[in-house]
Symmetry: C2
Subunit: 403 residues, 2 copies
C-alpha cells in the first residue's frame, strides 16, 4: 500500500538533509536558486543511470565513475550551465565543485557526486561557486529548495514522497527532479534524485532503479532529443531500520513498486511541464507479444510530431496513430488492432468504426490529459508511455534561445 | 557530364507517355488533378523501394508483389486517398484500379503498378475512378500533368530531367515526385518515379536505385514520421539504344551518378516544400569512420526538433548540433570535432572558438539554405542530409487537419 506524503521531497526520508543557494549562474530574480546539495547523514547505498549520448558532460562522467563504488554521501547540483563541450576544463571544474561541496558539509569529496544542467558550451563560473557554496544551509526540510535549485526553464518544482510498510517497518522514498522531457532548450535535459531510508542491498537497488527508469523516464519523450547530462540517482541510507531488502523477496517487490511509482510521478511531471505543452498524452499499448514491443510502440506513438500536433488541435486523426504504431516495427497484425481515444473506441479490427466525431473531439478538448489505448490483441504484454502536445509556443520558445 | 533539361519531367526520356485527370478525390479547384498514369511504350526493366512501416497501404503491397518480376509497363497513381487501414477492400480496390488503368492504355494489368497518397482510413471512391479514368489523355509531354496529379498538400510540382552520354549514346532520366519529407499530414508521404530510356540490366538497376535512395530520400527527414505508402519506382525501357548497362562498368558508374543526382534533386524539392518550412537545412558530416556513421549523424542533426527550431530563429546554438551528433551513437572523439555554419567555423577541437555571433546570425538570416559542416576528423567517410526548419506554421497546419 503506497501512501502519498503531503508536500513530500527528497528530505522526507529519515537521515537526509538538503539546501540550496543563489550562486549567480542564472539570471537573478526573486527567490532564484541555482546551486544545491543533497546529503545522507550516513553512507548510503547508491544506484544510478546515465545518458547514453556519445557527447557527455564531465559532471556526468565524474559521477558515473564514482557511482561504480555503489555507495555515496550526496550530490551537488547546479543549474544554468551544463558544464559540457568545454574541453578539459570541465572535468577539473566538476572535481573542484565536489570538493567545495564536500568540504562545506564535512565529507570526503570521493563520496560526493555532481550534476550540472543548463547551457552547453560555457564554462562553470568557478569563482562564483567558490564564493557562494558556503551560503548553503543544510536542513532536514531543505528538499524543496534543493528541487528549486535544479530548475532551468522548468515552471515548477517536480517533487514527490511516498511511504510503504516493508516487513513491519515504515520506509519512505522521496524524489526531486528537473526537466521537461527531452525538449529542454539547452539539452541538459533531465536530472532526478530519489532518497530513501529503506535498507536496500546495493545490487538489488541498481536492478530496481534500472527497472523503474525503463518504466518511467525512458517512457517519456517529447521530441526524441537526448541530453548530454541525463542522470538519475537513488540513495538508500537504511535509516528506517529493518533488515536488508534483497532481490526476489516480497520486500523487494514492494520496494520496486514504490520506486517505480515515484519515478513515474516525476516523469509525468516533466512531460506536463514541457515547453509550450498544454496537454499530457498517455499512451497504453496492450496485448503485445513482448514488453519491449509494447514499450517501443507506446513510445513511438507518444513522441510522433504528427500525433502530438493532432492532440494540440483536438483532432481524432487516428491514421496518425496507426502510422506511428507501424513505424515502431513491433509485431502486429493490422486486422486485429483496436484503438480507443479517452475510452471511446474508434478503430475495431484495424478499420474505423462509425463514431460520433464530435464526441471524441469534445472528449479531447475537455481534458488536460488525452489517453490513447491501442490493443494489438496478439499477446499479453503491455506498457504505457507519456508525451505532450506540440504547440506553436514550443516553436517560438525554441527558435530563439541563445540569441 | 550530367546535363540538366529545361522543364524536364518523367516523359523527357524516349518512349514514355503520361497523362492525368480530375477524378473527384480532392476538393475541386481550377486545374486540380488527382489521378495519373505513367506508361512506357515497351516493357521496361523496373526497380523499386518501399516503406518499411509495419502498416502498409494495399496499393503498396500490390505494387511490391508485382515489382518482384523486375519488369513493368507503368504505374497508376492517385492523390487524396492513401487506400490504407480500410481492411480487405483496399487490395480489391488497388487491383481494380490497375485494371481500369491497364484497360484504358491497352496493356496487361499485371504490368501496371499502383501508388496512392492522401488520407489514411478512407476507401477509394471506386465509382468516381471507374467513371473518370477514361478522361486521361496519354501524351509524350504529359509528365507535368502526371506530377501534378500526385500533389496533396504540396505547393508545387517536383520534377527534373537530366541527360548523360554513356558509351556514345545519349540517355535521359526524368523524375517526378510528391511529398514534403516525412511531415505530410496524412502520412501518405512520398512517392517518386524515375523514367529512363537507358538500357539498364535489371539487377544493376535495383542496386543503383537502392544506392541512390540511400543517398537522397533516406537522407531527408522532417519529423521522423514514416509513411505507410512511401514508394520509389524507376523504369528503364532501353529506348535510347546502346548495350545493356551492367554492374561494375564505367557506364554503370555514370548511370549511378545521374540517378543519384535526380533522386537528390527530388528529395531536396520535398524538404524545401515542407509544411510551414522557410529554410532548407543542409548537413554534411565528414571524416567519419564509416559511411553509415556519417549518414546516421547527418540525419540525426537534420531531423532534431531543436536544431530545426534554432534554424527557424537564425540562432547559432551549436550545443544542439553537438547534442544531436552525440545521440546518433556514431564513433566520435569530442576533442577532434570541428563545426562550421555557412562556412564560418564556430567549434574547433570540440570547444567554441571566439566568433562574431552577429556574423553567423546574419549569414543564417540572409540565406534560404543553412549549411552545417561537421568534421569528425577520425576517418574518411562523409555524407549529406537535408531537413527543413520547424515553424509555428507547421504546428498550426498539423494540429487541425482531418477536422
Amino acid at each position: 500500500m503506497i501512501e502519498l506524503i503531503q508536500d513530500g521531497s527528497v528530505t522526507s526520508a529519515k537521515g537526509f538533509a538538503a539546501g540550496a543557494t543563489y550562486a549567480g549562474l542564472k539570471t537573478q530574480e526573486e527567490g532564484v536558486l541555482d546551486l544545491g546539495i543533497l546529503l545522507s547523514d550516513v553512507p548510503a547505498n547508491l544506484a544510478a543511470t546515465f545518458s547514453t549520448n556519445k557527447i557527455l558532460s564531465p559532471s556526468l562522467v565524474l559521477s558515473r565513475e564514482r557511482a561504480t563504488r555503489g555507495t555515496a554521501r550526496g550530490v551537488v547540483a547546479n543549474s544554468g550551465c551544463a558544464n559540457c563541450c568545454i574541453g578539459g576544463q570541465g572535468l577539473t571544474d566538476a572535481k573542484e565543485l565536489t570538493e567545495l561541496a564536500a568540504n562545506h558539509v564535512g565529507v570526503d569529496s570521493q563520496d560526493m557526486l555532481v550534476c550540472s544542467t543548463g547551457m552547453i558550451g560555457v564554462e562553470l563560473p568557478m569563482a562564483l561557486l567558490r564564493q557562494n557554496v558556503s551560503n548553503i544551509r543544510m536542513t532536514d526540510d531543505g528538499g524543496h529548495d534543493f528541487a528549486g535549485s535544479l530548475m532551468t526553464t522548468d515552471t515548477r518544482r517536480k517533487e514527490i514522497a511516498v511511504s510503504i510498510e516493508i516487513d513491519g517497518t515504515k520506509v519512505t522514498l522521496g524524489g526531486g527532479a528537473k526537466g521537461v522531457g527531452m525538449i529542454h532548450p539547452n539539452m541538459a535535459t533531465m536530472l532526478a534524485f530519489v532518497s530513501t531510508d529503506a535498507n536496500v542491498e546495493q545490487k538489488f537497488l541498481q536492478t530496481a532503479l534500472t527497472e523503474a527508469v525503463d518504466s518511467s523516464f525512458n517512457m517519456c519523450s517529447v521530441d526524441g532529443d537526448q541530453s548530454t547530462n541525463d542522470t538519475v540517482l537513488v540513495f538508500a541510507n537504511g535509516q528506517a531500520g529493518g533488515s536488508a531488502i534483497e532481490a526476489g523477496s516480497a520486500a523487494a517487490k514492494a520496494f520496486q513498486e514504490a520506486l517505480t511509482y515515484v519515478c513515474i510521478s516525476l516523469a509525468k511531471d516533466m512531460v506536463r511541464d514541457g515547453e509550450g505543452a498544454q496537454k499530457l498524452i498517455d499512451v497504453t499499448v496492450e496485448s503485445a507479444t513482448t514488453l519491449s514491443d509494447a514499450r517501443k510502440a507506446a513510445r513511438d506513438i507518444a513522441s510522433s510530431s504528427l500525433v502530438k500536433a493532432m492532440v494540440h488541435g483536438n483532432d481524432p486523426n487516428w491514421g496518425r496513430i496507426m502510422m506511428a504504431l507501424g513505424k515502431s516495427g513491433s509485431d502486429m497484425e493490422e486486422s486485429k488492432i483496436d484503438i480507443f481515444i479517452n475510452d471511446i473506441q474508434i478503430v475495431h479490427n484495424g478499420v474505423a468504426i462509425p463514431y460520433h466525431n464530435d464526441v471524441v473531439v469534445g472528449a479531447m478538448a475537455g481534458s488536460p490529459e488525452v489517453r490513447f489505448r491501442v490493443s494489438l490483441n496478439i499477446g499479453d504484454a503491455s506498457a504505457t508511455g507519456w508525451g505532450c502536445d506540440l504547440t506553436e509556443e514550443y516553436v517560438t520558445f525554441n527558435s530563439a534561445y541563445s540569441t
